[in-house]
């Protein structure tokens, strides 16, 4: 509760309506030549010193991609993307995988400090060396993997996590250290031929996080990856793989920002989650890529494939996303509910302001008996933003007694924006039950006046009402993220009223 109050304070201090994360880090970078062809794929693989099987997999993905077309069905419009006019590999010039934070370029550490990501706190440093267990100031520890353009620059708390047998590292590192695990699961949830952007990612992915939670282990802290696009004309293609073995539990957070530029940059990530019997994965995202300016110039094209396989009985995956950034968002975090009694959840807040476009939602594929899914989507459109919820609930004949509940709410601010809801329900099972509720509303004048009569400024009032509208989703976020998310909601909507 007090979070909103603090949020309002923080926001008041922030510059009006500006994207605070738009700065650029000056650091020496190493690029692959511009463009995309087989030799670039080989170059990336060679840079990472990858085994043959992975190179072959990349090449198969690239072959498949060449024959594929960009999806045209999303309700978003943008000029054609020239895939040859971008860099597919950009890395801070330094040896890959520094052993300790001391070896990390100070400019990079400064960047993350500026973003509020503590990589170099003394306590955490101690953690890297396997000494301390929590930060000195008594906050809950969060282990962080920081990905800068194409590579992971630092992972904290590794030592502490290793004690429990938890693996949390850059995926490029995992390929070498835990090849059998990576090979067993990579591409099993999102195949390399899944869709245009997933195929592209499979061919040229450069880094990302790998998480493995062993049987029966409850991960003792939040795991977090912070993605930062810095270099110009560069795409970011990260790949994340999280495997929760039987009876394990993990909560994972993902944050992202990028510098303010006039050009559009491509971000095409793939996230795969695997949950075995009785395992539970909570995956939270606060997506804050640069959204473009108020005239719609610049911004990130965010084309992301996220999917979870609930393979085990009673397994559970919960997606929570707060999407405030990007010029275009195309993203459908989904659950394949294969194991009996497995549970899928999707909680989403998507904001589009100015000229932002979002086409986002989820797919819940019920295969196992007694599987359950919950979808709560809150779309907020302001300025000339366009916001589409697109969802699929599919219940196979064998998914007896499957249940789904879907709630889609849209909030409109101003009269130039749009909200669209495209739910698909395919039920092939007589005993299954699906529910769908949807509302569309505006911030009412009487609500604003009521708040202002109590002393709140117009912008604070909008922030309060919007946060209230999103409450069911925000309460699913881990505490520290919830505060950040509330801040973002408010900043994203600045200037949208009055």
């Amino acid at each position: 509760m007090p979070a909103v109050e603090e949020t309002l304070d923080t926001v008041r201090d922030a510059t009006q309506g500006a994207y605070k994360w738009g700065f650029e880090t000056e650091i020496e970078m190493e690029f692959a030549p511009k463009g995309l062809n087989e030799s670039i794929v080989r170059f990336i693989s060679a840079k990472k010193n990858e085994p043959q099987w992975l190179l072959d997999w990349r090449l198969r993905a690239f072959e498949a991609w060449k024959g594929m077309e960009e999806p045209r069905w999303p309700a978003v419009t943008y000029p054609p993307i020239d895939y040859q006019d971008a860099y597919y590999y950009a890395a801070p010039k330094e040896k890959v995988g520094p052993k300790s934070l001391d070896e990390v370029d100070p400019e990079l550490l400064k960047t993350y400090a500026k973003l509020g990501i503590p990589l170099k706190e003394q306590a955490i440093l101690a953690g890297v060396e396997g000494a301390g267990d929590s930060p000195a100031d008594g906050r809950l520890p969060v282990a962080v993997d920081a990905v800068f353009d194409s590579v992971s620059v630092a992972t904290t708390y590794k030592g502490r996590l290793e004690k429990d047998g938890i693996i949390f590292c850059a995926i490029s590192e995992a390929v070498h250290k835990y090849p059998e695990l990576v090979r067993k699961y990579l591409g099993t949830v999102v195949p390399h031929t899944d869709n245009f952007f997933a195929a592209l990612n499979s061919a040229v992915f450069t880094d990302g996080s790998f998480v493995y939670i062993p049987k029966g282990v409850r991960c003792p802290m939040e795991l977090s990856t912070y993605f930062r696009i810095n270099a110009k004309s560069t795409g970011q293609f990260e790949r994340t793989l999280i495997v929760a073995d039987e009876g394990s539990t993990v909560s994972y957070l993902e944050g992202c920002t990028a510098p303010q530029r006039d050009e559009n940059q491509l971000h095409a990530a793939v996230v795969e989650l695997v949950a075995m019997d009785d395992a539970s994965i909570k995956y939270s995202t606060v997506q804050n890529w640069y959204p473009g300016d108020e005239n719609g110039v610049g911004g990130i094209y965010n084309f992301v494939t996220k999917r979870a396989a609930c393979r085990g009985k009673r397994s559970k995956v919960s997606w929570t996303q707060v999407e405030t950034g990007s010029a275009i968002t195309w993203k459908y975090p989904s659950c394949i509910l294969q194991g009996e009694e497995s549970v899928g959840e999707f909680y989403s807040v998507a904001i589009t302001n100015n000229h932002q476009q979002a086409d986002t939602g989820t797919k819940m594929i019920h295969l196992g008996k007694n599987t359950r899914s919950t979808i709560v989507s809150k779309g907020i459109s302001a300025g000339q933003g366009q916001n589409t919820y697109r969802g699929l609930v599919r219940i196979s004949p064998k998914a007896t007694n499957a249940r789904n509940f879907t709630q889609c709410d849209s909030l409109l601010i101003g009269d130039l924006c749009g909200a669209h809801t495209v739910p698909y329900i395919e039920n092939r099972c007589m005993t299954a039950k699906t529910e769908h509720e949807a509302t569309t509303s505006r911030i009412a004048e009487d609500q604003l006046f009521y708040c202002r009569q109590r002393g709140l400024s117009q912008e604070d009032a909008v922030g309060l009402i919007v946060n209230g509208f999103c409450r069911e989703v925000l309460k699913e976020l881990p505490m520290e993220f919830a505060v950040e998310a509330q801040k973002l909601l408010q900043i994203s909507l600045e200037g949208s009223v009055g």
Binding site: M1, Y450, Q453, R454
Partner: protein, 249 residues
């Protein structure tokens, strides 16, 4: 001292207030009574600066400060509080959060230190006890699912927390049963003191049995047509508006 001079206001081009003159000195409670359509609610919205209520002439000042130049939230910070006839629901916004955000917004503007969550809870709990409000009303969404009586008590709670210089109570008695009416009246009476004044807008005399006004004004057709002591309210109750309006005319 709230001073209203020759205030005229219109809605959608239709003149509703046709020259209101009124002074409410510090420490006094004044009642405004009048038939439907007299402009009672319009007066409360014009004073608080609601959009759509266009001031076409006159002036309003609180302790010498011009209110009409201010945004609604600035008027609130200056010490004007409006208890709504129909308090608005804010789904998903916790009542405690809303109250504390409002309190701190006003304290900030006044240059007073903000209250933290613990201090606030202590403050709020004490006031809620006075108003016989169950504590779970702090956790619920603002006015969401509140009964009519609960909504009005919530308004009085806000008033007690925000400590305004002048409170405008717009038909706070409507929809209240006699017990709730008494609780609400007690809440207002508890605020009475040399630095607090109130403008109680009501249709009926019964509220004024519990909140005894220093002055009673009769508003009809956008003007204050007659004023008097508390006995005027009794006369209105007994004789109806018609006789008094004829007399005034």
């Amino acid at each position: 001292m709230l001073r209203i001079e020759n205030l005229t206001a219109e809605i959608d081009g239709k003149e509703i207030l046709k020259g209101i003159n009124l002074e409410v000195p510090d420490g006094e409670v004044h009642a405004i009574m009048g038939p439907n359509g007299a402009g009672k609610s319009t007066l409360s919205y014009a004073l608080s600066g609601r959009e759509g209520y266009e001031i076409t002439g006159g002036s309003v000042s609180l302790n010498g400060v011009d209110l009409l130049e201010m945004e609604p939230e600035e008027r609130a910070a200056a010490g004007l509080f409006l208890a709504f006839q129909y308090p608005v629901e804010l789904p998903g916004v916790g009542n405690a959060n809303f109250l504390r955000t409002a309190l701190n917004a006003i304290r900030r503007t006044r240059g007073e230190p903000e209250v933290d969550a613990m201090q606030f809870l202590k403050l709020a709990r004490a006031r809620m006890k006075d108003l016989s409000m169950p504590e779970d009303m702090l956790k619920r969404g603002v006015n969401v699912g509140f009964s009519g009586g609960e909504k009005k008590r919530n308004e009085v709670l806000q008033m007690a927390l925000l400590q305004p210089k002048i409170a405008v109570l717009d038909e706070t008695d409507s929809g209240l049963d006699i017990d709730a009416l008494k609780i609400v009246a007690d809440g207002v009476n508890a605020m009475r003191g040399p630095t607090f004044s109130a403008l109680v807008i009501t249709h009926y005399q019964r509220l004024l049995n519990h909140i005894v006004p220093d002055r009673v004004h009769v508003l009809a057709d956008g003007r204050i047509v007659t004023s008097g002591g508390p006995e005027l309210a009794h006369r209105l109750e007994a004789e109806g508006y018609a006789g008094i309006l004829d007399e005034a005319a």
